[in-house]
Symmetry: C2
Subunit: 116 residues, 2 copies
DNA sequence: TCGCTATATCGCTCTATAGCGATATAATGT
DNA sequence: ACATTATATCGCTATAGAGCGATATAGCGA
């Protein structure tokens, strides 16, 4: 299962990848993405669901927008955001799986006799 | 292609996911992972390959180790690190693909007539 | 035991950004 | 035009962490 070919990555590309991960490294932004998995929502709804201040929600939404992860649609006075980059779903599933494996392994350690 | 079921995520779980992304959000750490894709290496080799100071390399390696992404094997006075969590490969491929798509889309914009 | 080398850790400065309250902008109805 | 509501942006403070030089620790050979 280790049949991965190593991509050739310039340091510029590496920076872009790092940047993408950074965008996803804020709990608040993940909460917004999580909310938006149900479908498009406007800022007020997101403020209500996350319980965070409107200024914060708005700024995090622009970060996600600038990263190309979200898209938006203005309608009258309100702005509706939606997930534009579906790869986010797979990404989160991968990370969740990996975290799950890690936790399971740590639980195993607890069962096993101490080793030092 | 949107057949993803939304995982139920506690805010604690969300924090763990964010944490995992945060670990991957440093270019230097990605460079270390990239180097280690060739196989196990010791700290000196990684210092040489990345051109960064030993203190930095060492600290970033411990971050990756604590996150469960790397494993290590001590041998005499030197320490060999290797990738322990293979999901990193898929993760990077996903992100690279997503970035590639985005860049391609932006290039398209440039060809298309300006719209404002 | 005494250096010598490899690695880890410490203390520091500097930068980035989260969250906050206040304010600005924009669309709508009166 | 004005008030109202929705959203975006600004200025601020506080905190986290990257990179750096210096130092500490650990294994090894003389």
């Amino acid at each position: 299962m280790t049949g991965y070919t190593k991509r050739r990555l310039s340091s510029a590309a590496m920076g872009m990848v790092a940047e993408r991960f950074k965008v996803l490294s804020e709990p608040m932004r993940l909460r917004l993405l999580y909310s938006l998995m149900d479908g498009e929502k406007n800022v007020s709804e997101l403020v209500a669901e996350t319980g965070s201040a409107q200024a914060n929600v708005s700024r995090h939404l622009s970060v996600l927008l600038d990263a190309g992860i979200l898209g938006r649609r203005k309608e009258g006075t309100s702005t509706h955001y939606h997930i534009a980059d579906e790869s986010i779903f797979e990404l989160c599933n991968l990370v969740c799986g990996s975290i799950y494996d890690r936790l399971a392994a740590e639980l195993d350690e607890l069962d096993a006799p101490p080793r030092h």
